[in-house]
Symmetry: C2
Subunit: 395 residues, 2 copies
């Protein structure tokens, strides 16, 4: 594995290093903003009386996860078995793998269970329930399973009135595998107003609870009723009947979430430092060395009222450069343009800027890890880099 020069040099913690030092592009996490975002949702979950099970798929970092629960392992959600294994190695013992299980992956699931990790799998078909039950019997170790419920037609899951629901529940229960139900209001990413988000949260709760009640009415025990998405987690007013809340993006937030009003732009904790490498005044372009390789191809704000291109621009200290947008990306080139004929600021070759991303999960995935700053305002110097936090990669 070739280790990139601009990451390794930063792993040697050096208090003299600042955001002006590593070669660009690189990802930055503002730990002060991350902490504030984490505390905000933790306080909400407390008020709502539900456990919080953060989804670690956004940061994919044990270091970021240490901020979630005062440095001690808490229940988490993962999107890959690689994450589950890395978090198990880090001492996490209560993990939900929230992607539908395929039979091929069960040996790795069982290996984690044998290590004492409670790893829950997700499924929405009798076929999956049957092979999970069969694998559990063969292993003499029940694989805890949740039934995925569809609350808004976004992706997978069963409607709570689907005939298969109780059949799946029974298959799982007979094998000692039935843990509960899980739903995710994926369509809430398109809920543009606070009222729509409130309704999406209510629907998410109502649907999950209805599925749980139907299973219980059939005599099947339901321990976990799990709901969540970043918009609904911040909009829910009543989670009666729900046992746990999941959200992932909220640790960093991004322009999509800001566009929905779930956070403010100043809450965005992830950005990418880039350098100006050219100008095309005849087109009104400033060219940087941050393209889609650094930002991802995600254009999530394209469907929102305010399209933010590939991202908004701040100075190295995090202050927005007004009306400057990253409007185009090739692999290692980004193009910045002034919005609506605004004045293009003077940004000489070599100027460093930060780009706030559309979608934190996708942008973070383009990087091996994060240079970490504490977010304190600086005067005349670039923010100091505290350390480098690595990401879990692959599957």
């Amino acid at each position: 594995m070739t280790v990139p020069a601009n990451a390794t040099s930063a792993t040697n913690a050096d208090s003299a290093r600042t955001l002006a030092d590593p070669d660009t592009p690189f990802a930055v996490v503002d730990v002060r903003k991350t902490r504030r975002n984490v505390e905000r949702l933790a306080a909400r979950a407390d008020r709502l009386g539900v456990a919080l099970r953060p989804h670690v798929k956004t940061a994919k970092s044990l270091d970021v996860a240490r901020l979630l629960h005062d440095g001690t392992p808490c229940p988490v959600t993962v999107s890959t078995l690689a994450e589950a294994e890395a978090f198990a190695d880090g001492g996490y013992t209560d993990i939900t793998y929230a992607v539908g299980i395929d039979p091929h992956k069960l040996p790795r699931v069982l290996a984690l269970l044998r290590r004492g990790v409670t790893l829950r799998v997700l499924l929405d078909s009798t076929e999956q329930a049957a092979f999970v039950a069969e694998a559990s019997r063969r292993a003499g170790l029940p694989v805890p399973a949740q039934i995925e419920i569809d609350c808004d037609g976004h992706r997978g899951g069963l409607r709570p009135d689907a005939p298969a629901l109780t059949e799946i529940g029974q298959i799982l229960h007979d094998a000692g595998c039935l843990d509960g139900v899980l739903t995710h209001a994926g369509e809430s990413y398109f809920a543009c107003t606070a009222e729509e988000q409130r309704l999406a949260a209510q629907n998410e709760r109502d649907t999950a609870v209805a599925a749980a009640e139907r299973l219980r009415a059939a005599g099947l025990p339901v321990a976990t009723v799990s709901v969540g998405s970043t918009p609904t987690a911040h909009a829910a007013e009543d989670l009666t009947g729900v046992t746990e809340l999941r959200a992932g993006n909220y640790v960093f937030f991004d322009l999509v979430m800001a566009g929905l009003g779930v956070c403010r732009i100043e809450d965005l904790a992830l950005s990418v430092v880039v350098t100006v490498i050219g100008h095309r005044p005849e087109h009104g372009w400033v060219v940087t060395d941050g393209g889609w390789m650094a930002m991802s191809r995600d254009r999530g704000t394209a469907v929102q009222a305010q399209d933010q291109g590939y991202g908004l621009v701040t100075d190295l200290d995090g202050t927005l450069v007004p009306d400057l947008v990253m409007t185009a990306a090739s692999q290692e080139h980004g193009t910045l343009t002034a919005r609506d004929g605004a004045h293009l600021p003077d940004l000489p070759i070599g100027t460093r800027l930060r780009i706030l991303p559309n979608h934190a999960c996708a942008t973070a995935a383009q990087h091996r890890g994060y240079h970490v700053i504490d977010g304190a305002r600086t005067t005349n110097t670039a923010p100091a880099i505290q350390t480098f936090w690595e990401r879990v990669t692959g599957w």
Copy 2:
């Protein structure tokens, strides 16, 4: 750095392993198709009488690069200094870094030059020329530099009649840095017909040669006249005055290139193996475990006559599943849909499929490396995995 389980297990070469073995999703390279693609452009460059300088930004792999020139290092183009360093470590001594240089990166450039690597940098402003000249004088080591020429308004570069062209040439020449000119017909990715591509190639050549001639007329020596993009490299008929041809994507090709007619779908050498994890018959969806994390967010065919969604679907052996398209992606979920009301094939949970990507550069970047198959047709068994090839990552 956490190593993903589905990559490490494959690095233990095991001739019994097939595409049915590693946990999905994972990237696959068909080495037979790659070799054919490589030979096709090498033969063209020979016929055109120009040197070929492949751009290694697509595969970012020393193993793939070994196919380019019978196992020996050849001239290459890179998109990051991390690639330049990795290829220098691999014995490559003739490298062009084709992204505009920023002053901060010069120490790494000089370090490579001191190792005996001829690393050329790219620039399009007097500011850049001045700091490259200054750094060369201080180091007592001229940094070879090319002037970026804009042939189609795609991104950076100077028009050949720009007043600054000869000024930049003079600054570089005075410091012993002037190597030549380079242009890239980025707009050729939107040239939909063979005739448009031919014209784009002619314009690319004409523009680069005009810039070189203008410098020469000013008494400045121009050694290198470099042109290229995958579409124009395959369309050029006359490269008189050009010294070298660059292209990157052509080693793998992708659906964007197939949509332009630059290759056939059966030439696509990169794909991603995914597993069916669910069904939503009421929506006509098959759900897989390959989302945008495995495919990237690139939707390059969205602007073509035939939008291929996030990719086309083949069986494990590489045979297209007719009219099946990956139409939606979330982080670890892909949705397959039948096109235009076609029959949705029966694809039970656990079925493995391969997805052909829109954009090979972007999809490859989502993976740590490639499981390699030889592309021979198999009967009743999944294609055997020959080995695992790692990618260079980061900057």
